[in-house]
Symmetry: C2
Subunit: 360 residues, 2 copies
DNA sequence: GATCATGATGTAAACGTTTACATCGCTTCG
DNA sequence: CGAAGCGATGTAAACGTTTACATCATGATC
């Protein structure tokens, strides 16, 4: 008992037809109350559980949404999935996750294998270009892209305001009195990294500091940040601030500078991007740009559900989520407009750039 | 085109029967090579993608495993899912996640909704007692429990060696010369917390230090650790070491002690449990017990697959995963047997307790 | 009392696959 | 030449649901 109990079995036990069982289970209207409870009782007693595969086949609804992710490592994806799950759960949707697609072939296989298992797809993948999607996704399957290069796809796209965040952070550093601001870049070709670099460059340009720009190569890893930190000593004059394209590199850099006995932020300021949990616990606490990752996930799912309910209805297909500068102590004394009060180490002040996203 | 293309359509286009299409697609043996390629070409051209719901219905295989988790917050579940995903991917299995089951009813609903969608289940839930499982799971569905109170269920169970880890850490502290060792406990009734407490108590007992035991209440949160750290000043004589039941509390405690200008580890040692990523970045780097979370996930999945392939075959149904003490600097000078060399801040020495799990 | 609307229930088709079995044509061998 | 064997292919049933439609009893209406 348990497995293998079908509507048929329940029908026989209750002395009715399968149709009645189905109706009772799905709470249809035209039923004698007496029959309904009898059927329900039988189902309960027999530990009947509907087979969702069969149900999906006929209703063409799986109540499941799929997520295609490049990786599952680290706080970023953890948060992203959490945001998605939260929103999905609220709507009674299941979550099918697929990750670690090293190459386009794997990504394609992942896309195809979702066929018939999901009602919609949330996609974040470096390989998710329009042609791959076209070839491996039925036209009728709703999907939302996350963090892709926006605008070029027929799918709605959500992304982080990397440019705006980096611009704001650069301005903040300038407002703190820093002039020779170096940047540690992300891996070549990485879209997020490139946008952050652009924000940094424009921030300097707006202040007439283009000639001060110094860019170190980086790979988004702690090690590459550490290397950049050592590299930095070759510069004369030495920069008075370093802006890393993500927090892990900022932390690596921080350690490299401390190994050479530089005081942070007195001798040199260090700031990052992402606001991973670790950021507030290092010494000194890291000033950074907060990205509301869970919000990205939640928004993407919300957008997807809209698409599922009314395909192609929503006009604005592309959306950019705001970031915010989080001032802690690693950026030094602040005299800029953002500096409302001395910020606590452990309970940082969040400075909204645009409209802040809702808190999780 | 794309969606709605069925075997029937492909069959018509290729001028064969649906059976042949199915055979071609699934690579069966008895087929004329010429027919096969013609069918495959047609399928490709029409962008045919099999409907997995229909396939599952007839084959009774979903190639999907479900995970029931209490929550998705934080590094712990991120790592757990990663470990599971890694192992699942290697076997071509999909992952259906379900989380945040506040009460038994939600957990029950989650279990039932997995019916017909998964080939097996990985369950970690405080509500997953035998009777709930019995009522909501078909007898034939393989499942593996993670971190539950072992032994009382008919399902295989995997858990962390909380007791052994805490015991080893307590011994390590004693070996470092500490005597008045306080403990910050987990939330009341939490199984992991209770086991860690027991390990601490036995560790003291073995050294004849039972009279020195001091236990503070905690909730596994940074705040509760902070509170315990303040509480600690009331003790006379003051403890010379604090062992928190998890890292977040250890960190909260660390900050509380520093706020009162105690030097760590000179004035007082602080150690934790879990080895979350933050642990190595705080100042001073935290000595802690490493739990191989991803390994837990991977092992659980491996065990589940074994169960799926040969139900009830494996004799040993319960398994405990080892932990290891990670010596950094927050525990002070070590003269114990574990101390092979002065450990680096950022590249800690791992000290195996039993047999260390494989590295990810 | 015949007609009709109404509400409860049953019958059977449909969803898109896989696969056991039947069929057919060919080769091979006696 | 006919039987047997075999390989390629087609036919149809099965998986467990949902649901359009048919049926049937009941009571109301004229």
């Amino acid at each position: 008992m348990g497995a293998g109990v079908t509507v048929k079995d329940v029908a026989k036990a209750a002395g009715v037809s399968v149709a009645s069982v189905s109706r009772a289970l799905n709470g249809h209207k035209n039923m004698a109350e007496e029959t309904r409870v009898r059927i329900l009782k039988c189902a309960e007693r027999m530990r009947y559980m509907p087979n969702d595969a069969a149900r999906s086949l006929i209703t063409r609804r799986t109540h499941t949404i799929g997520t295609i992710l490049p990786d599952l490592h680290g706080e970023f994806f953890s948060e992203l999935i959490r945001g998605i799950d939260l929103a999905a759960r609220a709507r009674g949707l299941h979550l099918l996750v697929s990750s670690s697609h090293g190459d386009a072939g794997e990504a394609a296989a992942a896309l195809r294998s979702m066929q018939g298992r999901v009602d919609g797809l949330l996609i974040m993948s470096p390989h998710a270009d329009p042609v791959l999607l076209r070839a491996n996704l039925p036209d009728s399957l709703p999907a939302v892209l996350m963090n892709a290069s926006a605008g070029q796809s027929r799918y709605p796209t959500l992304s982080i305001d990397n440019y705006g965040g980096a611009l704001a952070m650069t301005r903040h550093l300038i407002a703190c009195g820093h002039r020779r601001i170096a940047f540690i870049a992300g891996p070549a070709g990485n879209l997020d990294g490139d946008e952050r670099l652009r924000g940094y460059q424009d921030g300097l340009a707006h202040a007439g500091l283009t000639h001060e720009a110094t860019v170190f190569a980086g790979e988004f890893t702690e090690e590459s940040g550490h290397a950049a930190g050592q590299e930095l000593f070759r510069c004369t004059p030495r920069p008075d601030a370093v802006f890393a394209a993500n927090d892990m590199m900022a932390i690596g850099c921080l350690f490299a500078l401390r190994e050479r006995d530089l005081a942070i932020p007195t001798d040199i300021a260090v700031v990052g991007f992402d606001d991973i949990p670790i950021a507030r616990y290092v010494t000194p606490p890291l000033t950074t740009v907060r990205v509301r990752i869970a919000d990205l996930g939640r928004s993407a799912l919300t957008r997807l559900v809209a698409e599922m309910e009314a395909p192609g209805a929503s006009p604005e297909s592309s959306q950019v989520l705001p970031c915010e500068v989080v001032v802690r102590t690693s950026c030094g004394q602040c005299f800029g407009p953002h500096n409302r009060s001395k910020s606590s180490n452990r309970f940082p002040i969040a400075v909204p750039i645009n409209m802040p996203g809702r808190e999780t």
